[in-house]
Each structure stands twice: as structure tokens, then as C-alpha cells.
Symmetry: C2
DNA sequence: GTCTATATCGCGATAGAC
DNA sequence: GTCTATCGCGATATAGAC
């Protein structure tokens, strides 16, 4: 007959879940191993039996978090399937997804804040974030700009950076820096202008 | 004859300078009042005689820092004087300034990292940063887009956001997140594409 | 105002029973 | 593996002499 306590892997997962909440809310230095332990319903010694140190636990949950968010971002294959759509439609879908995923999933915003906050102490973590999330989106978009028959983009990589940068900065100012009332701007205006600026380059192609 | 020790205001300034270095390097939680005191060459009690608590010292130096960086950013008046230059020239100058100031002044980069890092604990600080720096640049640019006779920008505010966002995100990825080798991109390519995307809107104005 | 010395607390990490 | 109890340290903040 089953005992009424968590098994080993459940405890490990409870620790990881509690650690995610604590580190994302407090940042590395202010996070407390005591709170992580009690939040997970285990003793502090149990936390240390699974993770050798605060550093190791932090890096474990952050890598896990970065990889888990990967699926939410658009991969190259998703672009290939939509190559024949009008560019306005496809770019609007991409922009709205990049905006809505972090807005709906507050863990995503906390991840962005924490990656930037700890980028001095943990530069390898910042690079993992860039490699697994930012670079994937940039390469997908640049490939699309390079091969889409309806667009004639002079510099696909730079244009992808502008697209991703404008959206990422909008998320940071409105939702991390509480900018809604200080520098308000509707999502749709940002997206409309981005699409207009990108698609109007096709008028450059000849006499 | 003058004594060979600092007077009161010199000690206060030494404390402020040391606090800036400590908070920007360590973040709020990991910063130590002991290190700030010894770094300034005073006792810890002296620090507390000038600033009631760690919170108050942090907010004092961050506000000071935000206001001191204001002059580096382009004010509206600077645009008015250059309204008759070709837009390509003016926009290139603005973009290069926004890129070079934080790159040259590492304190500026540390300020950006700390504002984002502590935006959960100190939302008012984040809003001060937006109001004193980001909003000033956005309004200047939007005004320019609205009134420049050579451009016909559909949505000046949104276009200003894209311009500022692309540059801010570039600074964050390349210099805060150590992205130089992971997602390399020359400054000039970013700036050239930005200018091309903005200026080519003038071809939209009709037959 | 400024110092030395200290109070008080919470932190990360560990020892040892079970 | 998991617990309780604790160690040692460094943190913020303060008392009291000068």
C-alpha cells in the first residue's frame, strides 16, 4: 500500500518549482535557501542533498527554464510552412506571438528580468539565453527575410534585429519597468509600424 | 591652515561615489554597507549618519545617477537646430550617440542593468528612469518625425519606439548579456537598416 | 559628525540520528 | 534520503565615547 508522502523525484520537482518562484521573484542574492526549502515542504538539508550549493541550484533552474521556454518561440520550421502567406499576415502573427507569450506567462518576464539582473555574476547564463531563445528567433526571421519572394530586404540580419529588438524593448518598458502610464503605446501601433517599415522596402527595387 | 582630512561634504560625496560603484556592480541585495563604508574611507556609522538605511542610500544614488545621465541624451532643442539637415545625417548622429554614450560610460550600462534588476523591488525607480531618460528621447524623436519636412512618417510615436527599442536592445544583448560572439552584428549595419526603414516611408506618399 | 565596538539577526552550509 | 539542530559568518543597524 502506498505511503502518503512524496517520493524522491516529487521532492526534487517540488524543490525546483519552489526555487524557480523564489529566484525569479527575489533575484539570486536575495533568494533564501530557507524559503525555498519550506516552500517545497522539505528541510534545508534535503535541498542540499539534491543540489550542492545555491549557485548550482540557481544554474539548474535557470537552464531548465530557458530550455522550457524554447518551444514557445517560433522555430525555423514554422516559417517554412507559411512562406506563401502575405508577409503582412505572417509578420503580424510572429509579432503578436512574441508579445503575447511573455505577457500571458509571467514566468517568462521574470526570466528575462533575472537573466539581465544576473548577467554580471552569471555571464554563461546570459549566453545560454541568447543562444537558445534570442538567436533562434533571429535566425528564423533573417532566413524568412532572405528567402521570402515578396520582400526585398537589404540586410536580413539587421532587419531581424530591429524587429526582435523593438518588441523585446516594448515588453521590458511596459511590463518590467511599469511604463504603461509613463510611455503608453498600444501594441497594435507598434506592430503596424514595424510591418509598414519592413514591407515598404520592396518599393526600393527599381526605377 | 587647512586640516588634512575631508570635510563633511567631501565625506558625503565619497560615500555616494562608493555606493554607486558597489550597487551597480553587486545589485541591491548583494551590495554591502561595510564595503561602501570602507571603500569611502569612513566608518559604517558615518554612512548611517548621512543615510538612514540601505534603501534610502540606494534610492538616493540611483536618482542622482538617472538625473546625471540626462544631459547625455538628446533633448528636443538639439533637434530643432538640425531640422534642415538631411534626415539620414541627423538620424545617424542620433543613433551613434545613443550607442556610443553607454558604451564609453560603463556606469551607464550598469545603471540600465540595475534599473531592470531592481524594477520589481523598486518600481518607482524604474519609472523615474523611463520618465527622465527614455521618455525624453522618445518625445524628441517623435516630434522630429512629426515635423520634419522631408519625412512622411505614418505613426511618429510608434516609429520612435522602434528606433529607440532597436538600439536599446542591441546595447543589452551585446554589452550586458555578452552577446558579441553569439549574435554578432556590426553597429553600422543596425544603424543603416534603421535609417533605410524609416526614410523609405516617404515613397508611400502617393502618385 | 565621526569613531570603535557591539547587538541582533538571517544567511549558506553541515553533523549526526534515524 | 530526510530530518532536527546548529555552526560560523557577514549582514544591517545602533550605542556611547570623543
Amino acid at each position: 500500500m502506498p505511503v502518503m508522502v512524496m517520493d524522491v523525484s516529487s521532492k526534487r520537482n517540488a524543490i525546483l518549482d519552489g526555487a524557480i518562484a523564489e529566484f525569479l521573484a527575489q533575484g539570486y542574492a536575495a533568494a533564501s535557501m530557507d524559503r525555498i526549502a519550506s516552500g517545497a515542504g522539505v528541510s534545508k538539508a534535503t535541498v542540499y542533498s539534491h543540489f550542492a550549493s545555491k549557485d548550482r541550484l540557481f544554474m539548474a533552474i535557470m537552464e531548465r527554464l530557458v530550455l522550457s521556454k524554447f518551444a514557445d518561440i517560433l522555430e525555423p520550421s514554422q516559417f517554412a510552412a507559411r512562406m506563401n502567406e502575405p508577409p503582412e499576415r505572417l509578420l503580424r502573427h510572429v509579432a503578436m506571438t512574441m508579445l503575447q507569450v511573455p505577457i500571458q506567462d509571467r514566468e517568462y518576464l521574470g526570466l528575462i528580468r533575472t537573466v539581465i539582473a544576473e548577467s554580471g555574476r552569471f555571464p554563461a547564463l546570459a549566453q545560454t539565453f541568447l543562444k537558445e531563445i534570442t538567436a533562434v528567433a533571429l535566425h528564423s526571421l533573417a532566413d524568412y527575410f532572405r528567402h521570402c519572394p515578396h520582400l526585398h530586404i537589404a540586410d536580413p540580419e539587421a532587419t531581424a534585429r530591429i524587429f526582435v529588438g523593438a518588441i523585446a524593448h516594448y515588453l521590458i518598458t511596459q511590463y518590467l519597468l511599469s511604463g504603461a502610464e509613463i510611455i503608453p503605446l498600444e501594441e497594435s501601433r507598434l506592430v503596424d509600424s514595424l510591418i509598414l517599415m519592413i514591407t515598404c522596402q520592396k518599393t526600393e527595387q527599381g526605377p
